[in-house]
Amino acid sequence: MYSAAQTDNTVSIQNLSFSRGDRKIFDDISMQFARGKITAIMGPSGTGKTTLLKLIGGQLCPEQGCIVVDGENVHQLRLADLYDLRKRMGMLFQSGALLTDMSVYDNVAFPLREHTRLTESLIRTLVLMKLQSVGLRGARDLMPNELSGGMARRVALARAIALDPMMIMYDEPFTGQDPISLGVLVKLIKTLNSTLHLTSIVVSHDVQETAAIADYIYLISDGKVVGQGTPEQISRSESGWVRQFMRGDADGPVRFHYTDDDYLEDLFHTEEQ
């Protein structure tokens, strides 16, 4: 699978455009995700970062451009081939997306039971190994509603690596976590990436955590790539927008106000309406 004949990009996005209604979410963007590396996609909320992951996973279709995952054009595959490709992709949803009517153990066993014909004892071994790697072997009999947010995300991570995928996509893994769970997740993503030789795509707007583990960062805003590079290159960037985003400044090219029209004029217009 890792032969040198293939390109060294697991995912490559070329000239992608996508709109929802009249709003253009992506406007002719191109990105490369190098094999075995952690690539981060950062940007303000609502810039369609999750949409990008759904496009890569083939759940949405682009208007233009193509997405190539592991040498296959995602949106030209037949359904059966797309499902085969998805078995090699893991995805960690923001909510965890655990199946609420099953225990932690059954959730992690779910992809194995659906896609393999392994015996129950072998499945048990695999599930316990995956749970051990996220530190939740002792929580296997709990139901998803008994887990904290951080634990749910770790269980979802164990499930995502159950089939030993070649890549894994993290959708906002750090949002709404306490400092300890956050540290655990950051470390887990890094460890899993290096020990399992995964290609990781992390979508996030948590600058510090993401910059700490990413090998390469894309910054997107208003459907365009506004900055890219290694964390060092990004932090040295001359662009005002990039600097404002990375430092979280209130002042800069990104305005605080939603609209541009004059405040006083708007206030005095009430009688006319």
Partner: protein
């Protein structure tokens, strides 16, 4: 005037689009039968939660409907001195109409609403989309077993409803009002026809089960994935299944009993 026409066209188009999506959805669900044949345990679990858990409400309602039929039938029939035919009246009305229709309405309130809410919430919490990303088709894995469970349970529940209803009618008619027990049963046996009454009742409830499960699952699958969207979808399920049941009942009755 133009505005009204525009609105009419808009609404019609929306409805037709939805019907089209619903039809494709149904076809997709029906292809799931191969998976169910391979893994019958998925269907059995749903038969329990969709069918078995609806037993109680069906039994209790059937008993009371039968008892009321016994009372009302007795008062009308005794005016003509025909109280011996009470059994025929109770059984015919239950097997032909009330059994399939009332149990379908109860089923919509008890089981279909739960199905819509469950599927809608699974969609809202990204469980369906998570399953897709794990290369598992949620329509085949989650929805098809529920659909066939509803389809198979409905006729059985309707039959149960009719049976309990007849017993309720007998309890009131024979036990309370003094109709002759032998006449009650023998008249019923002589008058009720298998293909005319019982088979038609089964056909009706099979159709209702098919349509109600389709509506419930499609509304859940098509719901806007927010709390408001799921609640609206649940309401639509109950209202639309009730309308569909009553409307189809009229059409089926006209087709089945129109000639006599």
């Amino acid at each position: 005037m133009l505005y009204v026409l525009q609105q009419l066209g808009y609404v019609t188009r929306q409805r037709l689009t939805k019907l089209g999506r619903g039809t494709f959805f149904l076809l997709h669900v029906l292809t799931g039968i191969s998976d169910i044949l391979r893994r019958p345990e998925l269907l059995i679990r749903q038969l329990y939660s969709v069918g078995v858990l609806t037993f109680l409400i069906i039994t209790v309602s059937g008993l009371f409907v039968g008892m009321v039929l016994g009372l009302q039938g007795y008062y009308v029939l005794s005016d003509f001195g025909a109280e011996e035919t009470l059994g025929v009246m109770v059984a015919t009305s239950l097997v032909r109409e009330l059994g399939p229709v009332v149990s379908a309405l109860l089923f919509a309130g008890r089981a279909d609403s739960a199905l819509t809410a469950e599927i809608g919430l699974m969609k809202a919490t990204e469980q369906l989309s998570g399953m897709e990303m794990m290369a598992v088709d949620p329509v085949k894995r989650i929805i098809a077993p529920r659909f066939f469970a509803g389809f198979f349970s409905m006729p059985l529940l309707a039959a149960l409803f009719s049976m309990i209803g007849v017993l309720g009618g007998q309890m009131v008619g024979v036990g309370l009002l003094g109709v002759d027990d032998g006449a009650f049963w023998s008249q019923m046996q002589a008058k009720l026809d298998f293909s005319d009454d019982i088979l038609n009742g089964i056909i009706k409830s099979t159709v209702f089960g098919f349509v109600a499960s389709w509506i419930a699952l499609f509304e859940g699958y098509d719901a806007v994935p927010t709390s408001e969207g799921v609640s609206r979808a649940t309401t639509r399920t109950v209202v639309n299944s009730a309308f569909a049941t009553l409307g189809l009942d009229f059409i089926l009755t006209a087709l089945m009993f129109g000639d006599d």
